[in-house]
């Protein structure tokens, strides 16, 4: 399967801005959840009920910047998978729905809590995310965020939860 975004230590893209309480139903509609599961099938529906033109405009590495409680609602993992496979590299928000947060990191989509960046970044801004330094850069400005725990970083480095579990099972 081809990976549109390499979870590298650094990556860059443009900002797409959305509001508060964006729920998983508008990120990936429930009417598709028991018929579409493969990443390439779910990606074309990313944000379909919130911003129908999103999938035409998004490019690999782009960053969603949103307010409070991004990804609240359902546990559906396709909400994280559809964003990642449509090209989104990271979602930066004031807070996240807890299951979305786990699903995102488990699938190598960065979920970053960074109110400073949410306050400052405008639609279309070019940003770079530096995991090493735990900072989001935009031109001269930089917005720091709390570093991911070692456990989460090693999971991301392993390629996500599934790859990490494969290794763990292989190691016995």
């Amino acid at each position: 399967m081809n990976d549109p975004v390499d979870v590298a230590e650094r990556f860059r893209g443009r900002v797409f801005r959305y509001g508060d309480h964006v729920n998983t139903d508008v990120i990936f509609p429930g009417r598709y959840t028991y018929t579409k599961s493969r990443p390439e099938d779910v990606a074309p529906h990313a944000l379909e009920d919130l911003d129908p033109t999103f999938v035409e405009r998004v490019r690999p590495g782009d960053v969603i910047v949103a307010g409070w409680n991004w990804g609240c609602g359902s546990s559906r993992e396709q909400a994280a998978v559809c964003l990642r496979y449509s090209g989104v590299g990271a979602v930066v928000a004031r807070s996240f729905g807890r299951i979305f947060y786990r699903n995102a990191l488990n699938n190598g989509l960065l979920a970053i809590v960074c109110p400073g960046a949410v306050d400052a970044l405008e639609e279309g801004a070019e940003v770079e995310i530096d995991l090493e330094a735990s900072a989001i850069r935009c031109g001269e400005a930089a917005y720091g965020f709390s570093p991911f725990s070692t456990a989460v970083r090693s999971m991301i480095a392993a390629g996500g939860l599934i790859e990490q579990t494969k290794r763990r099972l292989a190691a016995g």
Partner: protein
């Protein structure tokens, strides 16, 4: 083992106790990450895609077949060939792996069925690939939702990492007034505290009002805490809960050794064991926030489209026309809910231009409503019934909405597009308000119809 520097006698929240037990630690700190072993791992129609993920691990057998529970409930009976294929895959997987608890099309919604079947017990950790898994807090269990990949990992390893959450305590006092339900309590709390008012937290309910709430009402309130962002929610089970579980365990003796009743056992013995496994928070445990709500101050509430926390008193709404009324879901599809609907609707007709869909939460609810004659009365009022399950709750089938249509629903979510077209509008309310609105053809307080 107690870690150095951690006082062994520290007061603990329910979440700390439940996750310590599930991870085999003597005690765990708030914020600590533990490897927890769920007592029950729940999945539903999403079992087939989870199985596809699990097969990547190259195992022949899941490691916890006896701990797994699978229901077919989200799109039942299959509305399309794609759904039918999905169900067929779930059945094949369940047979191949010898899954202990499997419930077919028509048995009902996972959260209701696992409650009725007494599969989840006080003190248990249940992880479900469903966001309303906090539901099981009404039985004194720790229930939390997880993603599909995480469920596959649980099947493969028997465990999953969890962070021990902060807790908030909500004390309930006073009594509900006429036409006021715990759905209104939940909407009041969510309206006040916000859709993220309990984000990542464990919600503990306590206070003198709980003893006066029916079991169906307790389940509805705990269930709705998912809409406040809670990781889990909890209510201390009392004798009524123990009796409910004991009765059900006794009609299913010997199902799982050590977790129920043995053939011929007395109810008292089962209750003693249920009491013993119950976890109660300690006095003086640490809470991130504490709230008090006087139930007598709560009025019938409505959540307006498209956010659950955009609430208003039903009497404050300007006349809102209703195309469809929906009764059902894991929040308000139980017997008490159908009883409230019957009280409002029996002997009356739906308003011209308004239709009504009722989907009981389980076959047990459906059978009881049938034998009480409610189904015939409601059908005479003009309501139609669907197979026990989730119905149109998440827009799969059985009553989806066209652009511009307005639905008043007893469900838990009014997100844009959830019940069909993104141009439709969903209002959430208690079953009594939904029923009254179906009769009036616009959103009204039940007393406008009944009195």
């Amino acid at each position: 083992m107690t870690e150095v520097g951690r006082p062994a006698d520290m007061a603990r929240t329910f979440a700390q106790k439940a996750l310590a037990q599930a991870s085999g630690d003597e005690s765990v700190a708030i914020g600590e990450i533990v490897d927890a072993r769920p007592d029950i791992a729940l999945s539903h129609d999403n079992t087939a895609p989870i199985a596809e993920i699990w097969r990547q691990f190259g195992q022949d057998r899941v490691v916890i077949p006896e701990r797994m529970a699978v229901t077919l409930d989200h799109a039942v009976p299959a509305p399309t060939v794609r759904h039918a294929l999905n169900h067929a895959e779930v059945r094949a997987f369940v047979a191949e792996q010898g899954i202990g608890h499997f419930f077919e099309v028509g048995r009902g919604i996972c959260h209701q069925v696992l409650s009725e079947e007494a599969i989840v017990l006080p003190g248990d950790l249940i992880l479900g690939s469903d966001s309303h898994t906090p539901h099981f807090g009404w039985l004194g269990a720790f229930g939390a939702g997880v993603g599909r990949s995480e469920m596959a990992v649980i099947w493969a390893t028997g465990e999953l990492w969890l962070r021990v959450p902060e807790s908030i305590r909500i004390r309930l006092e006073g009594m509900l007034g006429e036409w006021v339900t715990t759905k209104d309590v939940a909407l009041t709390l969510i309206g006040d505290l916000g859709a993220d008012g309990a984000l990542y937290r464990s919600v503990e309910f306590d206070g003198p009002a709980i003893a006066g709430l029916s079991l169906d009402s307790r389940a509805a309130l705990v269930n709705m805490m998912a809409e406040m962002g809670a990781k889990n929610a909890y209510m201390a089970p009392d004798e009524e809960v123990f009796r409910y579980l004991a009765e059900r365990l006794l009609t299913r003796p010997g199902r799982r050794p050590g977790r129920g009743a043995e053939p011929g056992e007395a109810s008292g013995e089962v209750i003693v064991r249920l009491r013993e496994r119950t976890l109660y928070p300690d006095a003086g445990a640490e809470y991130a926030a504490e709230h008090v709500l006087d139930l007598s101050s709560v009025q019938p509430q409505v959540a307006r489209p498209h956010q659950v926390d955009d609430t208003a008193g039903v009497s404050e709404l300007e006349s809102v026309r209703v195309d469809q009324a929906f009764i059902g879901t894991c929040t308000n599809g139980r017997l008490e809910d159908l009883g409230a609907v019957h009280r409002v609707m029996a002997g009356r007709r739906l308003a011209r231009g308004t239709r009504m869909v009722i989907v009981p939460a389980s076959s047990e609810v459906w059978n009881e409503a049938l034998s009480r004659g409610w189904v015939a009365d409601l059908a005479a009022s003009g309501a139609v019934f669907g197979t026990p399950g989730c119905g149109p709750c998440m827009g799969n089938h059985l009553g989806v909405l066209a652009p511009g249509e307005v639905c008043i629903s007893s469900a838990n979510r009014n997100f844009q597009g959830r019940m069909g077209d993104r141009g439709a509008e969903i209002y959430l309310a208690s079953p009594a308000v939904v029923a009254a609105s179906a009769i009036a053809g616009r959103i009204v307080h039940p007393r406008e119809v009944v009195e």
